[in-house]
Symmetry: C2
Subunit: 266 residues, 2 copies
């Protein structure tokens, strides 16, 4: 998503040229290219698919909407398995129209995970609940902190449900380091993502994630927390940024790889 | 601030007409009108000044900037005392340019409170640390949760330092009710403010606070939490909203009073 201006073949080429060993994919471009074809493309290039983004949106009350969401999440699990990644990132969903009940919405996520967790496990895929920054609590994700994500995840086996640790969403939270330790002790850190915090935030606050090193987040500090918690998996960079998307994609990917090298310990 | 398009005399008239018994004032219009004159204006109208907003911005590293901030906060205490309110709301300040050290910034706030707390107490004024929504953590307020605010406040006597509970900033936080109880048990809830959460957020995310009842926050639920914690003080409404500011101020104040009646228990 950091370089969504690139087609999948362009992305694969650019990763190979830059020595980027793995890539997190999003469902929409994968579906447009064809899931099997995308799987072959990355496999033939020797690239690892680190995660698939994203399932989730599990907070609907309406039974037909809930059934559709569950079916879509099962498809996402299938796609992840086809792509050869063991991790499906979940963005849980916001409040249904007119609702003010965060607690109820979080419980409906748990109900959905009880159905999706075993299905994912059968397909060799782990679900990774991603707490999103509290500014998305109403319209995108009622799970706002690692503690909330772990409270949900802990109801299920770690091989079914864990969490996504993304610096952009948790950097302000002084309790997050302890929650990372809690997640690590349970083997529930299913992926670790980087984006920097820059201001002013754009209207709608979706596409202002900062390039690594441009903002307020000490990447090495958070890397230290996840590594101290036992995490040895891939480190992903996920930038939603209108300015970056307007630039040449290969140039942005090269810059991102450079910033990664400068701001993350080997 | 909800009706900043009104002059102070217009505001006082409108409050009297609508039966609004108290008003939270901001320093800038008070200073422009004259602090003594403003104090006489509200006193003569029989209005209570619930709080003065705002002191704070205590995170600077540069010694000259720190000294200037402390001096300005002493002036704010003086102004609060002149206006006859016992509460000065503090917005703590963001990260200094180039800094990524939230912990250090929070410690500098504590250092400043050690100087300002006794000064405030001598003037009959309590400092009320306001945790601001985490989306302001870098550029406006490194204190993002009630827990963080109380961790700071607890280092000082409650008659010197407490907290501001504002629904807009904490509604997403499932640990906030317990923190309200903690604050109440220590007599540290120095004011309670309402604003609703509406989306999409505007660019810069400053002036999109929703009119009471328009958004995702159950005002009675939060009122219940502060009342259960022993709070019996005023309930303020503080809306920063470009759309409301563009309308007729008396009409907005009347609407706000109506919404208050509909969404808050007597």
């Amino acid at each position: 998503m950091t370089v969504k201006q690139l087609s999948l073949p362009e992305l694969v080429d650019a990763c190979r040229d830059l020595g980027v060993p793995g890539v997190g994919l999003w469902r929409e471009p994968v579906q447009a290219y064809g899931v099997e074809a995308a799987a072959k493309l990355v496999r033939d290039a020797g690239l690892t698919v680190t995660t698939l983004c994203r399932g989730g949106f599990l907070t609907a009350i309406d039974p037909a909407e809930r059934a559709a969401a569950l079916a879509d999440n099962r498809r996402a699990v299938d796609e992840a398995a086809t792509l050869g990644t063991d991790t499906l990132v979940l963005v849980s969903g916001g409040l249904p129209a007119g609702s003010k009940d965060l607690r109820g919405a979080r419980e409906r996520i748990a109900d959905a995970l009880a159905e999706l967790g075993p299905y994912a496990e059968e397909h060799g895929v782990r679900l990774a609940i991603e707490p999103l920054h509290p500014m998305y609590a109403s319209d995108r994700c009622v799970v706002s902190t690692l503690a909330q994500a772990l409270d949900l995840a802990e109801r299920f086996p770690a091989r079914q449900v864990g969490v996504t640790v993304d610096t952009y969403h948790i950097w302000w939270d002084d309790t997050a380091p302890a929650q990372i330790a809690r997640a690590g002790a349970q083997d529930r850190i299913h992926t670790f993502q980087l984006a920097d915090w820059t201001t002013p935030l754009p209207e709608g606050v979706l596409n202002g994630r900062g390039q690594i090193g441009d903002g307020s987040i000490d990447m090495r500090e958070w890397q230290g927390h996840v590594e101290a918690a036992g995490y040895t998996g891939a480190i992903e960079v996920e930038l939603f940024n209108d300015v970056l998307w307007a630039r040449d994609g290969r140039e942005v990917l090269a810059e991102t790889a450079q910033r990664f090298t400068e701001n993350v310990r080997p």
